[in-house]
């Protein structure tokens, strides 16, 4: 029977061309949206590699051009913050603090492996405790690194795999210039500072040696407050710091709010695309339903004939469902051919698995959609009275 259905649809390819095209485009839209959704959902389910409860970000924009004065003020700010009983921990950080909209990356080269782009974060020794960064192997930064000839770094597993493959990474030196290198001292499984929907990209954390780098100024400071500390403390803290820094521009943001803001950047287009896709699919479904109903009503005489030749009502029903599924198969074959190019050509640097999940889900949904659209018209076809249908011309 399947062969018969393929033959029937193939012989009607001209009249079915528009339906097949419609199914093809629906599949491509669905595949694109599902790839986007699957990619983001997979990222969302992965650990961030840190926690951000009760962590605030203090952004400081000095108004003075005097590096020495700014540095002096910064030291006082740090001392003041450490003196608060409400503050559990603090850590200076580069401007690309977790959930911020800044990105800093660094090209890493190790042996034959060239220019691996890694997210680059500068943090202080207390960052691990402040953000609860779990280490898989090795250790976090500490005072013992003051005497090191190399710049210590903690890397995530992605960077480890890209640079070293299966080799152990601890202790490895990665050249920065001819005379200096990074030294890997610790590995964390994940570190996704760009947010929950960000890919698990290679990342590295370097140590801020505050005492040694007298010439340097860091504008971002992470502050972990004790549970239950709220706006009243924030106001008092900003007032106190303003007393030290004068007319510096100070801004306090809660990491939780930053996380939500960052998530919206992905969620809003994802929901928007989802709605557009749902609307398109609904239109396709209505169109398909109408066309199928019309086609089936045009084929009453054929239905009567098949019944006369020995087809039971259920066989007529399944024949029409089968025809629609075969029709969908023609559209899907074309769609799968194009969709398969995405993982093969590694378009957008998205995991092959994401494309495969999206592809199979889109195929399943299109079959489901077409079968659902064919359900009622096929039932109508099965209910056709053969004696009546045979006299329709």
């Amino acid at each position: 029977m399947i062969r018969h259905l393929f033959k029937l649809i193939w012989n009607r390819k001209k009249s079915n061309f528009l339906l097949i095209t419609e199914i093809f485009f629906s599949f491509m839209v669905l595949f694109a949206v599902l790839s986007f959704v699957v990619h983001n959902v997979r990222n969302y389910t992965k650990p961030l590699g840190f926690t951000h409860d009760n962590v605030w970000l203090l952004s400081m924009r000095p108004s003075s051009d005097s590096a020495a004065l700014n540095r002096q003020n910064l030291e006082q700010v740090l001392q003041r913050l450490k003196s608060y009983p409400e503050v559990a921990n603090i850590s200076l950080t580069s401007n690309n603090a977790p959930f911020s909209f800044s990105i800093t990356s660094n090209a890493m080269t190790y042996g034959q492996v060239k220019d691996v782009q890694a997210d680059y974060y500068e943090v202080q020794d207390d960052f691990q405790e402040l953000m609860q960064v779990p280490l898989k192997v090795g250790r976090w930064f500490g005072p013992q690194d003051d005497a090191s000839n190399h710049e210590p770094i903690v890397i995530n597993q992605q960077l480890q795999e890209k640079l070293f493959g299966n080799e152990p990474a601890i202790g490895k030196l990665i050249p920065i210039t001819d005379s200096s290198s990074y030294q890997v001292i610790g590995i964390t499984e994940y570190f996704r500072g760009a947010g929950e929907f960000a890919s698990d990209a290679p990342a590295m954390l370097t140590r801020i040696n505050f005492a040694k780098r007298q010439d340097k100024f860091w504008e971002s400071l992470l502050i972990k407050v004790k549970p239950g500390i709220g706006v009243a403390f924030e106001e008092r803290m900003v007032k106190d710091i303003s007393g030290i820094t004068g007319d510096w521009n100070l801004e306090v943001s809660m990491l939780e709010k930053m996380r939500k803001a960052k998530a919206k950047v992905t969620l809003v287009p994802m929901l928007g695309l989802g709605f557009v896709c749902a609307f398109l699919i609904l239109n396709v479904a209505l169109g398909l339903f109408g066309v199928l109903w019309y086609n089936i009503s045009r084929r009453n005489s054929e239905i009567g004939l098949r019944r006369a030749l020995g087809a039971a009502a259920s066989q007529v029903y399944w024949q029409f469902i089968g025809e629609v599924l075969v029709l969908a198969t023609f559209g899907l074959l074309l769609g799968v051919f194009f969709a398969a190019q995405f993982p093969l050509l590694e378009v957008f640097q998205v995991d092959t698995e994401v494309y495969l999940i999206a592809l199979f889900s889109a195929v399943f949904l299109i079959y489901l959609l077409t079968a659902a659209c064919a359900f009622y018209p096929s039932r109508q076809a099965a209910a056709v009275q053969p004696a009546v249908a045979l006299h329709e011309e």
Binding site: H4, K7, L8, R307, L309, G310, A312, A313, A387
Partner: protein, 233 residues
């Protein structure tokens, strides 16, 4: 053998009741070629539909090949139609999107245990019988009316049914083509022993059959052996 006992068929709407057949008693012995005549709307096609199990009588019983049809369950009726009955229609009822060979194969598609190669083989034999073995790959719209009707006959034959029910098989054909089709049906009846019941408006065609019954207003008004006393029919 087909036996119809006390068949009545009434079409009922909310306001009108139309009696299509009343008190029809008819026995068609195995191997007989019976023709049914009568004016349009007298119930000939309704009778043929009831014989072919395409329609249910309002009352009375139908028996086919010694099997009385008691329950009218869809699957059972479909099975009997497929195994025992072949249909030929005035307007051929060929599927335009299928080749001649595929059209002829159709009844075997609904018969379990027949492979694709067996279907094809039997379709070719059936087409040879009606003289269309050179047209297997053609489509119905590439054939003349007579050729289409021969395809329809080949389709009726392929399942080797005991009975062929033909509803005005020559109605859409000119006299030469009609003659050709009639000869094929006569040959099937005489050589293969197939029981044929044919509805026709053509007196000449009816005269070639063994027995002719006439209908008027849903009732059988005459029944005669054609070769015995043609003038009385």
């Amino acid at each position: 053998m087909i036996i119809l006992s006390n068949i009545e068929k009434v079409y009922q709407t909310k306001t009108i009741e139309t009696v299509a057949l009343q008190q029809v008693n008819l026995a068609v012995p195995k191997g007989e070629f019976l023709s049914i005549m009568g004016p349009s709307g007298c119930g000939k096609s309704t009778l043929l539909n009831i014989m072919g199990l395409l329609d249910e009588p309002s009352s009375g019983t139908v028996s086919i090949g010694g099997q009385e049809i008691r329950s009218y369950k869809d699957k059972e009726l479909a099975h009997i139609r497929n195994e025992k009955i072949g249909f030929v229609f005035q307007s051929y009822h060929l599927v335009n999107d299928l080749s001649v060979l595929d059209n002829v194969e159709l009844p075997l598609l609904y018969r379990s245990g027949v492979s694709a190669s067996e279907r094809s083989k039997r379709a070719k034999i059936a087409l040879e019988k009606v003289g269309l073995s050179a047209r297997t790959k053609h489509f119905p719209n590439q054939l003349s009316g007579g050729q289409r009707q021969r395809v329809a006959i080949a389709r009726a034959l392929i399942g080797q049914p005991e009975i062929i029910l033909a509803d005005e098989p020559t109605g859409n054909l000119d006299s030469v083509m009609g003659e050709e089709i009639m000869n094929i049906l006569l040959d099937l009846n005489r050589h293969d022993g197939t029981t044929i019941v044919m509805v026709t408006h053509d007196e000449n065609m009816a005269k070639k059959t063994e027995r002719l019954i006439r209908f008027f207003d849903g009732q059988q008004v005459s029944d005669a052996k054609v070769y015995a006393n043609l003038q009385q029919v």
